[in-house]
Symmetry: C2
Subunit: 252 residues, 2 copies
Amino acid sequence: MLSKSQISFIKSLHQKKYRYQNGIFIIEGIKSISEFMRSRYRFHSLYYDPSFFLSLPELPANIRLFEINSVELAKISTLQTPQGILALVYLPEEQEPDIKTLKGHFSLLLDSVQDPGNLGTIIRTADWFGIEHVICSPETVDVYNPKTVQSTMGSLARVSVGYTPLLPLIEAAAMPVFGALLQGQSIYATNWGQEGFILLGNEGHGIEQDLQKKISVPVTIPRIGQAESLNVAISAAIFCSELRRAELNGAC
Amino acid sequence: MLSKSQISFIKSLHQKKYRYQNGIFIIEGIKSISEFMRSRYRFHSLYYDPSFFLSLPELPANIRLFEINSVELAKISTLQTPQGILALVYLPEEQEPDIKTLKGHFSLLLDSVQDPGNLGTIIRTADWFGIEHVICSPETVDVYNPKTVQSTMGSLARVSVGYTPLLPLIEAAAMPVFGALLQGQSIYATNWGQEGFILLGNEGHGIEQDLQKKISVPVTIPRIGQAESLNVAISAAIFCSELRRAELNGAC
């Protein structure tokens, strides 16, 4: 049985302001929760329907457990169809992206991506393709938004996601910047080299002007039909796939 | 000024049952509405904030026009943030996919895709890559769901989308079926030939057993990292991109 103040505390975490004020975010569903338990994230508390007790993974020390019923769960859940189990997890400490760890790899840079589902899907896709770092401009939607967390399908437990102004990062890193633009060279003829940033822009306005100037290789996904643009998560996926194809198959 | 019964009629179209009962669906936003006006779709009526009057494209004959205020628009809109203009459009007549028009091309087959945003994004991506036909199993989410229409970004006006049982279609067409599976040959080494179906499955359960038996080429997007799966719209996009890359670059 949850108290009114517990319920209102958890509901407050649906909003970014209170997530950062309390340093806590919400994850839901047994699969995501299990993946986060195997990660560096630390748990605050767990709220579950008694039928989930046996399927719980080995629990971290000091976690607070609450058996609750479906009415209570519906009150605190961020989902239209709650999944029987919800956890509160501590936000990780904010860390500046360490340029040394980016060297020799490819990372995604997101300039002001606004849709929480797009961000989550990008993180899930990065995880599939073994891209370890997703670095967001400060204007990008919060990665601990419940819709983002949900659409990463557990990949947020593995992919490192940071927020930092992209211009100084690009200048300091001195690595090639492959920018997703409508006028660039064909992605199918791009020589990726050994390291770099894949830069993707906002859903409506693309990549900001100052950042565009930093693009070393403007890259376009050739359009055969008539759509005006691609969804940003789709573009990100095609970039990741092309990059890995070139590595796996050798230059083509 | 809209009457109560007009408002409740339009609101009823938010639900699939009433869309098909009345043969009408909703589109919103000036960009989508303009693209549908240039297409084979026929319009029933248009509801707009007076500030949109000058940006309206040339209007079809017999369309009913209603200037409404933002309070009324909020009542009938399917969006959290209404975009100032909403249209009612007649559902096109249902047509069985014509196998002759599929021959010599690649088409997408969707087996029970459930998420309206995924379906819309797949249609938008198909439009970008010049894939003209998306054919859905009857269990697939309704393409005239407002979220699907919205996420096609106008591409629904151009891509043909049909619903039909996939098994008899595959048998009758006698074309190669490239199935997106977790165990198959690498997509980067696939020989696509000149025509075929790209078959994608449900978000949770993949491709149904009976359909799996019809796959002539099981294809996998190689996984380098640790995510368990890719979002279905992401998989669809990587298939479309690979197909077009092979055509543009020649076999690799």
